[in-house]
Amino acid sequence: MTMPALDVDGLTKTFSGFPAVRQVSFSVPSGSITGFLGPNGAGKTTTLRMALGIIRPDAGKALLFGQPPTQRTLDRVGFLPEERGVYRKMTAEQVIALFARLKGVPAAEARRRALTSLERFGLAASAGKKIKELSKGMAQKVQIIAAIIHEPDFIILDEPFSGLDPVNQAMLEDVILEQAKAGRTILFSTHVMAQAERICDRIVLMARGSKIFDGKVDEALSVVPRLVTIGVDSHDDISALLSRFGEVTRLEPDADGAAVWQIALTSGVDPQHVLRACVEAGVRLTRFEPVRPHLHDAFVRLVSASETAQPAGGK
């Protein structure tokens, strides 16, 4: 079995009596793209900082490639922190080369890679410009390059999409997929569920300092009931007919006056069963719309469930 890129076990951290992270355990398998999701204040950044050895946990441990964070293991990690900034008086090339060298890349190679990467990211003309002369988006690209310039085995991105325009968000998505394709492990935290759903193989969901879900995206989606919306142009008792498939709710009639029903399917029920039941009962359907659940729904449902299970505390 391949060694996970990151393995955290029982991580706990309290700041001045406030529990920021409680007993969090999860693994990031090698070669995977893992989304690290959670509402604001969930403890994601603190967990990542502990994983990288930036702050010490009160309890538990974090292993990078099976070892505690050391200079050697950290050299195999590329990190883009949530709070971004680079030396404003250095040029783009100098900043990238500096971080490459800090990660063990020889000087000449660091400069070569810096120029190549800047060209790839469309910043070749800005290589000699100081960071303070670049736009915010360009500076952010420089920092993203700095995080991966040493070709790390494991890339951790904390809120990488925040502050980027849609074009650059798409570009970053491509970069993440490209890095994954090259065999690198990626862990990134985000609030943009659509991106997480598109990119991630698996997700770890945090709320109030605790892990509330850890698994594949499909598994997360399965916690949300699939919905089927139907339009009916006959006087059949839909509630009685379809209640065996799940919870049936009558909605407002549509513009043509047809009755509209929504069925929240019980786990394991296929929308085709609903359709077959309607056809067999001779129901005149004007519309039949199975709705695919999204990660956003799963996120909201899981977080709400955790809040119900664990009453508010702390701050």
């Binding site: 406030f18 709070e83 990660k103």
Partner: protein
């Protein structure tokens, strides 16, 4: 090591590769030159001061004063001419020039001829500078009430150079029953005392001569009596040959105190550099990225070493300029004033400089680490200034002690404060020329080094908390105010 080197290198280049650094590098010797020239500039820029003497004794005392002032002026001018001749002419020309000057034994009529011999025509103003500033004018009135408008600047007096304000009025009277004259001096300028001093000296010498003459002594005897002075030999028992203690012997003590003050200034400015750069780094959100790349201790040491390298660059350049200046000035002054030349020669103390370097390193690391730790708690320079105030007071104290202890560097108070580790670098360097006991040097050094280790360890812990915002300036304030903590954590 790689990370420490790269962090230090970046820190070093961030200062050295700027115009500001080179400007400040050049500005210090420049300002020192200007500073050295300032007394001469101030002296040469002194205005001519016009005064009147109202001699109510009618015994010729006003003439005595004027003659004495002109004699002093002549002596000063002759000394300046002699110094200029030492530098610019050979022995023969020197003698001829002085003989030409002395052709007028009471005035300055021989100055132009003397300067011509030295090839220094047109330098009369410079040679005379500071000596011809007191000019007596005819009194426009005889009472203080009548002179008051002239003295307060409401009315000008006639002078050889036109109408000018009156600087001072000297009234000479004799009280009933006393043989001694009473000098009453009026001037709105209460700080400039050269005229009042000259008047007092002139009349003091005059009344003594008069008293001795009244006892039947002739002028030659009076002069011989006035010049009586005991011979004194100032010796140091540690010196094997009986060489007298001279200016050169004071050099190490003066250099040590100057080094201590320089040490203080350097540590203070360099530690401030660290603080500013860290606060800027925090403001620029670079810290987290750095901490995910290098260990906190590497970051701390790298920053400290980088800025230390900046200060060593400054020291190296300034030291080179200073030593060259001392050597050149020493050889230049060898003929002019061997005593000053000896002093400058003794000022170059390699052992003292090496000790200063070691004390600088330890002091810098102690204060630098504290400044870095405090800087890590601050988001803005304003926050930093609030936290720095107590530390600056701690830093100010040894400076005050040094100023007061310059005359008695081995007093008990100074010995005691040598043991305060944060002050040891400054106080001990100043004490070294007085050769304190070895156990005291070793003991204070050990305490200082132990404190350094403790400070570095504590600074690293605070830095780790502060750098990521887990503690801040408010945390420190809360420690003292005992308020409940507030958290702001993702």
């Amino acid at each position: 090591m790689r990370a420490i080197y790269l962090i230090a290198r970046r820190e070093y280049l961030s200062y050295v590769a700027t115009w500001g650094f080179w400007l400040s590098l050049a500005s210090v010797p420049l300002f020192m030159l200007v500073g050295a020239a300032i007394p001469a500039l101030v002296q040469s820029a002194q205005p001519v001061r016009h005064y009147v003497i109202i001699d109510e004794t009618n015994s010729g005392l006003d003439t005595v004063i004027q003659a004495s002032i002109e004699r002093e002026r002549r002596e000063q001018t002759r000394a300046a001419l002699e110094a200029a001749a030492q530098v610019s002419a050979d022995a023969e020309a020197r003698e001829r020039a002085l003989a030409a000057f002395d052709a007028d034994p009471v005035g300055l009529d021989g100055l132009d001829d003397a300067l011509e011999i030295l090839g220094m025509e047109g330098s009369a103003d410079m040679i005379e500078a500071g000596s011809g500033l007191l000019v007596r004018v005819d009194a426009p009135a005889r009472t203080i009430d009548a002179l008051r408008p002239y003295l307060v600047g409401d009315q000008p007096v006639s002078t050889p150079s036109g109408e000018r304000s009156l600087f001072a009025a000297v009234f000479l009277t004799r009280e009933a029953g006393s043989d001694l004259p009473l000098i009453t001096y009026y001037s709105t300028n209460v700080t400039e005392q050269s005229l009042s001093g000259a008047v007092r000296r002139a009349l003091r010498d005059h009344v003594r001569e008069q008293a001795l003459a009244a006892r039947g002594l002739d002028p030659a005897e009076i002069e011989a009596l006035s010049s009586l002075e005991p011979e004194m030999r100032n010796l140091n028992p540690e010196t094997v040959d009986d060489t007298e203690v001279g200016a050169a012997d004071f050099a190490p003590y003066i250099v040590a105190v100057i080094l201590a003050i320089m040490l203080w200034t350097a540590i203070f400015s360099v530690a401030n550099m660290l603080l500013t750069s860290l606060v800027e780094e925090k403001g620029g959100k670079i810290i987290e990225l750095l901490l995910s790349t290098v260990r906190v201790s590497d970051l701390l040491i790298g920053k400290l070493l980088g800025v230390a390298a900046v200060s060593f660059t400054l020291f190296a350049v300034w030291g080179l300029i200073g030593t060259s200046g001392l050597i050149i000035a020493g050889s230049f002054l060898q003929d002019v004033d061997p005593e000053i030349a000896g002093f400058l020669g003794e000022a170059i103390q390699p052992g003292l400089f090496l000790a200063a370097l070691a004390y600088f390193m330890v002091g810098y690391l102690m204060y630098g680490a504290i400044f870095l730790a405090l800087g890590s708690l601050c988001e803005t320079l304003h926050d930093a200034q609030t936290l720095m105030s107590p530390l600056i007071l701690v830093l100010m104290l040894p400076l005050m002690i040094l100023v007061f202890a310059m005359r008695s560097i081995d007093s008990l108070a100074v010995q005691v404060v040598s043991w305060v580790p944060l002050w040891t670098p400054f106080v001990m360097i100043a004490r070294l020329p007085s050769q304190p006991p070895l156990w005291e040097i070793a003991g204070t050094s050990l305490v200082m080094l132990a404190t350094l280790a403790l400070v570095l360890w504590g600074a690293a812990a605070v830095f780790q908390q502060g750098a990521l915002g887990h503690a801040n300036a408010d945390s420190v304030k809360r420690v003292f105010s005992r308020k409940k903590p507030v958290t702001d954590e993702e």
